[in-house]
């Protein structure tokens, strides 16, 4: 199919206002991407929230694995007694500066299938458990006091 036929089909389907709207939307998207990319550099702090409340923050540089329960409690995974884990949990792994949810008992498993995050501003959300893991800026202006909850 040569280009002129495609052009005729294009003109047949779209109007001038469509193209203007497309340009405006694309410009908005590119502008937002640039703005977000500038604000988020290599992050430092992994913050865990449940039900809108911050329950824990960890350094992105230290490897660890924790279990967050729906009641807001957090425990380290190296406890081998896995039966003590309450229902409504998410197991969060921080390894080599990459954060992922490796296990959860939520019904949709969106958090487990989410791609691992490593940059400031990125987050993994478990909607059924109202749980959010987010990478925040840990460096700079006295943000350190948030570490121990």
């Amino acid at each position: 199919m040569d280009v002129s036929i495609l052009l005729i089909m294009f003109r047949d389907i779209f109007k001038k206002a469509d193209i203007i709207l497309l340009a405006v939307l694309l410009a908005g998207g590119i502008f937002a991407s640039i703005a977000f990319a500038r604000s988020g550099s290599a992050g430092g702090l992994v913050s865990i929230k449940a039900g809108g409340k911050a329950i824990a923050s960890y350094s992105l540089d230290q490897d660890r694995t924790v279990i967050v329960s729906s009641d807001g409690s957090v425990s380290d995974l190296d406890v081998t007694d896995t039966e003590s884990v309450k229902p409504g949990y998410n197991t969060i792994q921080i390894k080599d500066g990459i954060v992922s949810v490796i296990e959860a008992d939520c019904h949709n498993q969106v958090c487990v299938n989410h791609k691992p995050i490593s940059h400031e501003g990125e987050s993994i959300i478990c909607l059924p458990h109202k749980m959010v893991v987010e990478i925040e800026s840990g460096k700079g202006d006295g943000d350190v006091d948030t570490i121990a909850q």
Binding site: I13, A17, L21, F36, G52, H114, E122, S123, I125, V132
Partner: protein, 174 residues
């Protein structure tokens, strides 16, 4: 003769309802097929092929009927396979997208594909807003550019299909 116009519009309510019921089933099937396909990207990025049906109803019937079919589809899909959260998401997306598409259509400046493109973007925006409200987390808006671009792409694609299908459909469908 003055009576003929309203009579014609309401002359076949049974046929109209039957057509809309058929299209609701079709939209639901599209949603089902899409739920079976592997996700093309991060959560929220979808093809939204059910939108083809909704856009056609918006143009052939009315915004009211497009909204009815869409909300029936969302509710049935929620009961059958997407679950409560999925339905809540879709309902928010459907609500914003239908309002936007109805307004843009009224300006008569945009084509069906252009209206559908705006619908795709607003659908994703609606979902993003409800997700941010549900988890009380504004950092979700980092997904905005991604969902904007994917909404543009899926809206244009479904809009082109809707345009081509609509031209082939009989004029007395409803």
């Amino acid at each position: 003769m003055a009576m003929s116009t309203p009579l014609h519009n309401n002359a076949r309510p049974a046929r109209r309802i039957a057509s809309l019921a058929l299209l609701t089933t079709l939209a639901l099937m599209f949603s089902y097929i899409e739920s079976l396909l592997p996700a093309p990207g991060p959560p929220g990025v979808k093809l939204g092929i059910a939108n083809i049906v909704i856009v056609i109803i918006l143009y052939r019937c009315s915004a009211y009927e497009a909204a009815s079919v869409n909300f029936l589809r969302v509710a049935l899909a929620g009961l059958l396979f997407t679950g409560l959260f999925g339905a809540l998401y879709s309902a928010a997306g459907a609500f914003l997208s239908l309002i936007g598409m109805t307004l843009l259509k009224k300006t008569r400046l945009f084509s069906m594909a252009g209206v559908s493109m705006a619908g795709g973007v607003l659908h994703n925006l609606g979902q993003l807003i409800i997700a941010a409200l549900l988890v009380e987390e504004t950092s979700l808006f980092y997904y905005f550019p991604l969902l904007l671009f994917s909404g543009i792409a899926s809206g244009i694609l479904t809009g082109i299909i809707a345009t081509l299908v609509s031209r082939k459909l009989p004029t007395d469908l409803f």
